[in-house]
Structure formats: C-alpha cells, structure tokens
C-alpha cells in the first residue's frame, strides 16, 4: 500500500454520529470483484436521489469541498458491516485521512490496511474542526511521524495510534510479507498441536 507520512488537505465535515458502512457504501455496490472504482459510490444514498440525480443539498456535492482529502465525522464512525469496500470507497474518492472521536474496530483496522490514516481526536476538537470546515475552505496538516494535527491558524493537537499500525502506515508495508518472516514460528505452532 501507499505509505503515508504527512498529509495536507482540504477538510470535508460530516457532522453525524454512528455513520455505518451501509451509508459509506450501500450493498448494491458490493458485487464487484476488484478493489478499484468504488469512489463513485461513496455515501451514495446521501449524494444521489432515488433517480440517481446528484442531490445539491448534500454537502459533499458542493463545489467548495471539491478536491477534499480529509474527512471529519462524528463518533463511532464506520460501525456495522465489516465490508472493506467502505475504506476502498473513501480512498478511491480521494480521502487519505479520516478524523473522528471514535471508530468501529473493524473499520479502523481496515483503514490501516489500505493506507488510510484514521485519526482519533476528542469530541471538542472534532467539533472545532467541523465548524471551521463548515464556514470556510479549511486545510489541515496531519503528520503521522509526529502524531500531530495542525492548521495555519494556531490549532494544533496530538493523537495516539499504536506503534505497529503507525509503522505499517509510514512504510506502506505488505503485512503478509511481514508475517511470513515468522513462518517458522507458525510451523512450530502447528507441529506442537498435532
């Protein structure tokens, strides 16, 4: 996967809690057998009406968020189904970073396997970012090496991420290749159980 060290981008605010993976990518788009091309379907039922027309009133469709690469949302982001199509869709749409007060475990994990950085900030910090991004074109820098998020107007905060996931993301490693360096131990484990 593509490494991610430091990313600067336009923020898109989605001020809802408990956004589930059925909303991120509805089931009718899960039938493809490749990892590519899911971006066009992200938040489909919010972005399009029942006739497939763009809903102008949904914020992501507004011109001011064109080119956004940082998604900021409410708590428990990515709950529900384990579908990895959700991070694939988010990434394919152009997002490299997600910021939320909390995540569903499987979704969080899935992000880190695909080079998307899930940042966890406090509810207050998230609300500040959302307000900023709702009122103006708002850019943030997310630095994974330093574990910091900042803008150029004085907002700065740090975040936590476990060392293993951080290392994987920074280096863009293929996890299977890493695991296979322990192949001997796996074989020993299997032997010992026979």
């Amino acid at each position: 996967m593509e490494p991610i060290r430091k990313h600067q981008g336009l923020v898109y605010p989605l001020n809802r809690a408990n956004i589930d993976t059925d909303q991120i990518i509805p089931k009718q788009f899960l039938k493809r057998i490749s990892r590519q091309g899911f971006g066009q379907f992200v938040f489909y039922n919010w972005r399009f009406d029942s006739k497939g027309e763009l809903r102008e009133d949904f914020s992501l469709n507004q011109p001011k968020y064109k080119g956004t690469s940082i998604l900021v949302a409410g708590e428990n982001f990515g709950c529900g189904s384990s579908r990895e199509h959700a991070p694939w869709a988010i990434q394919d749409y152009g997002f490299r970073v997600v910021i939320a007060p909390s995540y569903a475990d499987i979704f969080y994990n899935n992000c880190t396997k695909n080079g998307i950085l899930p940042v966890q900030l406090t509810e207050e910090e998230v609300q500040t970012l959302i307000q900023n991004a709702e009122t103006e074109s708002y850019y943030l820098t997310v630095d994974l090496e330093e574990k910091k998020v900042y803008d150029n107007q004085g907002f700065e905060t740090s975040f936590e991420i476990d060392d293993y996931k951080r290392e994987m993301l920074l280096n863009g490693w293929d996890e299977i290749a890493v695991t296979l360096t322990h192949a001997d131990k796996i074989s020993q484990f299997e032997e010992a159980r026979k």
């Binding site: 809802r16 809690a17 408990n18 589930d20 059925d22 909303q23 509805p26 089931k27 009718q28 899960l30 039938k31 493809r32 057998i33 490749s34 990892r35 039922n45 029942s50 409410g74 708590e75 428990n76 709950c79 529900g80 189904s81 384990s82 579908r83 990895e84 991070p87 909390s102 995540y103 569903a104 475990d105 499987i106 994990n109 899935n110 396997k113 695909n114 476990d162 060392d163 293993y164 293929d174 996890e175 299977i176 695991t179 296979l180 322990h182 192949a183 131990k185 796996i186 484990f189 299997e190």
Partner: protein, 472 residues
C-alpha cells in the same frame, strides 16, 4: 493457586504464535469461513503475489449474501452471478471446500458453521463478515475481519490482534414468558448504546443467559457487533455439549466425551476479573421494537416513539430527528400504532429451526393481514428441509407467507428481496440502518414471534397479549 482466568484469556493464550512488546500478538486461526462478497479481492491478492492458501482444510466457503431465494437457478443479476462463479473458481483453484448454491450444506455462513459442528468451543474463528460473533455462543473466540485480513489468514492462517479488553454483560434473573433472546440483546443495546462494546470482547453471563438454548445464545452473540464488540461469547456448558454431540465435524464416541471435558474446562473461572462489568435485569425486559436507524434505537412494544425535544444532548437531538424523518414517524406515537407492509423472518440472527417453529406457533390458524407481504427465508438448506419435514412450511404457506430458499435475502437485500422505498418492514434481522433493506426502506427489528404477530395484525402488537399461546 492459579490466577482465575476468563474464557477469553484462556482461548487467547492457547493461540499466540508470536508476541513482542508494543505489538499486537500473532494469533493462530482454527477456522476461516468464507463467502462470495468479501473474498474475491483476497483471492486475487494471493494470485498476484503467487501465494497459496496455507491450510485449505481449516477453511470453509459457502454462498449466502447474493443467492436468489425464489428459484435457485435463476440469478437475474449478472454481477451477482459473476461473484458466485468467482467464488467457485477460487475455491477450486486453491483447494478450499465449498458448499455452493446446489449443495445440501449451503446456507448463511453463521448458520451452517454450528450446524455442521465446524464451530466448536475454544476455537478461534474468523470470517469476512461482522456477524461472525455468532459463533461465540459456543465459547469460541469468533470475530469479523476485513478483506485484507481474509487474504492474510488465507496466506498465513494467522492474524495480528491486540489483546482485547474483556467486558462481562451480566443478565440477572429470568426472562418473562414471551420474551426472547432477541428482545434481550436489543434491550442490552438499547440500554448501553451502539458503541459500549467497542474495543472489548463481551462475555454474556448470568442466569438468563444460562437458561437460553444454543439458538438463543447465537441470537445474542450475533448482535454483539451491534454493540460495537467484535466478539461476544458464552462459556460452554451442558447445553453447548448436547447441541454439538453427533454433529458431523465434531469428534465422535469416546473422543467426543474427552473433547467435552476440555471444552467445559474453558469456562471462565470463579473469581476471574473483567476489565468492565455491566448488568441488566432480565425480568424488566419486554418484547422490543426498534423505531430508528440503528439497533440502539429500540423501545418496549408498550412504549411510545421518542421525541427529539426529550433529549438534552444536541447531537442526540439531531440524531433522533433525522432518524424519525427517515422512518416516517412523528415521534410520540405508540409504536404499536405503526402499520407495516412487509415482514421478513430470516437472517443469521433468527432463521434457525427453533426460530421458525416459534414463529409458526403464532401464525398457526391465522392469516397474514391483507396489507402485508410476508416472507420466511430459512437460514440453511438443512433448516429448510427439517422445517418441511415438520410441516412448518405448510403452516406459513396456509397463512399467506411466502416460503423461500436459504440465504441472507432481505437482511441486506443484495438479491431481489428488497423492501420498496418508503415502505415499512418488521424484520428479524440485525440492522435497521438507512437503506439496509432497500433504498429508503424502513426497518423495525423484532423477534420472530413479534414479526409473526405483526404479520397477522398489520401493526406491532405485544405478542404476549395476542390471545394465541406464546411459546415459553
């Protein structure tokens, strides 16, 4: 004396292949279940990197999410067809056993695992599906994974996992007559919210949990993910052992008794300490109905739908308002006054033989309300066959239900079983998310008994006051 341990710690310790400070553990996986929707990209990844499936015999595949439920052979949607054919090709190429759409073992992945005895206490079980938690009912550590992890498990038979925190959900007392495992788990999520389990593995304990049948335990563990927990389990006991005895993939004869001893020894030790404990009283729980767009938005059938103004928290206020709008409800009305147009009895939560038996006992001798379209979708080929042997299919058909082939069906409406926009469905499945059963469809989660009662009356009713005998 040895330090008392939870079943979660015991299973974990038996599966650590490699550990290092400040890193997740590398955990061995005993059973990897696979279905057509979340596996194609994983097999493709193996192929691209010239990798094999390490232990095909610990892997088991079926087709469930996409399969048609009217005629097995008529798959109208070409893309679904390709997805199923792809699974067949992948299983053939990599040597993975497959129960395809014509196989007598086919069914929803979380229904067939236990049915075949593949699911066993003490196993680590994964599947590219969040309801893998279902298998925890047997005292297995079972959790859903993403497709990258599916590929990882195929290639290495292991997974990197940080040791989870443990949460004891203790259910005191007994459930009342007509109150089911489904009502119990909905009430738990309603009380503690849709993310109280995040970062934890739940163990369900207490008298009401012990009293549950294996089917009931599966219903409870199934919805652990709806509380945010990747896994939920119940310590094995005699109920577990008797369910498994004689199943095809468990040891037979004396070997079974030996295995049973080992399984029972996995149960959480007296005095073991959990990271967190929450409690709920079973006797306070009524039959539940969800009113909103996540499973935590549920109320007793006797209650009124909430109104946003009752909430002090601004975010919650907005959330309630948005959910009411989507659900086409005003707020404040009795949930029992809400009319429905569809009933779905099925899904990995409630499509086992006992679920169908209980729903049938309500339906028997009654007719589906003329405004309602009702379907029953058995969880597996084998559930369907057994139900037909018992004549349960006839009870449903006589009442006006459609009797279908096994699959996920209207739980996520990936096949043709879709609830039309703006229409309302009483569903025995596990998710009432926006659009889950169809774009604009409105889902109310209930038990099979409550769904059957709603089918007859055309609106929600307390199954205990229906005037028909309620099964205990």
């Amino acid at each position: 004396m040895r330090k008392p341990k939870t079943i979660i710690e015991k299973i974990w310790e038996k599966h650590v292949v490699h550990e290092e400070a400040n890193k997740p553990d590398l955990l061995y996986i005993d059973l990897h279940l696979i279905h057509e929707v979340t596996s194609p990209q994983a097999f493709e990844g193996l192929r691209m990197n010239n990798r094999k499936v390490r232990r095909p015999e610990l892997t088991y595949a079926t087709m469930d999410h996409n399969v048609p439920t009217i005629h097995r052979n008529v798959i109208k949607d070409e893309v679904s067809k390709t997805q199923m054919e792809t699974l067949k090709t992948n299983c053939d190429e990599f040597g993975v056993p497959l129960a395809d759409i014509h196989h007598p073992d086919q069914g929803i992945v979380h229904v067939i695992g236990p049915e075949l005895g593949l699911t066993q206490p003490g196993k680590t079980i994964v599947c590219g599906d969040s309801h893998t938690s279902t298998h925890g009912a047997f005292g297995a550590l079972a959790f859903g994974i993403g497709t990258s992890e599916v590929e990882h498990v195929l290639a290495t038979q292991t997974i990197w996992q940080a040791k989870p925190k443990t949460l004891n959900v203790k259910v005191n007392g007994k459930l009342g007559t007509g109150v089911t495992a489904k009502d119990l788990i909905l009430a738990i999520i309603g009380k503690f919210g849709v993310k109280f389990g995040t970062g934890y593995v739940i163990e369900y304990t207490g008298e009401a949990v012990r009293d549950l049948s294996m089917e009931g335990r599966m219903t409870v563990c199934n919805m652990s993910i709806e509380a945010g927990a990747r896994a939920g389990l119940i310590s094995p006991d005699d109920t577990t052992i008797e369910f498994l005895r004689g199943k095809r993939h468990v040891p037979q004869g004396e070997a079974f008794d030996k295995a049973a001893e080992e399984w029972k020894a996995l149960a959480t030790d007296e005095g073991a300490v959990y990271d967190e404990v929450v409690e709920i009283n079973a006797d306070e729980i009524e039959p539940q109905v969800t009113w909103g767009t996540n499973p935590g938005m549920c109320i007793p059938v006797s209650a009124n739908v909430p109104i946003p103004e009752e909430s002090e928290n601004a975010i919650e206020h907005d959330e309630i308002g948005r959910a009411l709008e989507y659900m086409g409800l005003d707020g404040g009305e009795p949930i029992s006054s809400v009319n429905i147009e569809h009933v779905f009895i099925g899904s990995c939560t409630n499509s086992r033989l006992s679920d169908l038996r209980k729903a049938a006992s309500i339906v028997k001798g009654n007719k589906v309300n003329p405004n309602v379209k009702a379907i029953v979708v058995p969880g597996s080929f084998s559930v369907k066959a057994q139900a037909e042997e018992e004549g349960i299919d006839q009870i449903f058909k006589d009442a006006g239900f459609e009797w279908r082939e096994a699959g996920c069906s209207m739980c996520l409406a990936m096949n043709d079983d879709v609830v039309p926009e703006g229409e309302r469905c009483a569903s025995t499945s596990n998710r009432n998310f926006e659009g889950r059963q169809g774009t604009g469809a409105r889902t109310h989660l209930v038990s099979p008994e409550m769904a059957a009662a709603a089918a007859i009356k055309g609106h929600f009713v307390d199954v205990r006051h229906l005037g028909v005998p309620t099964p205990s």
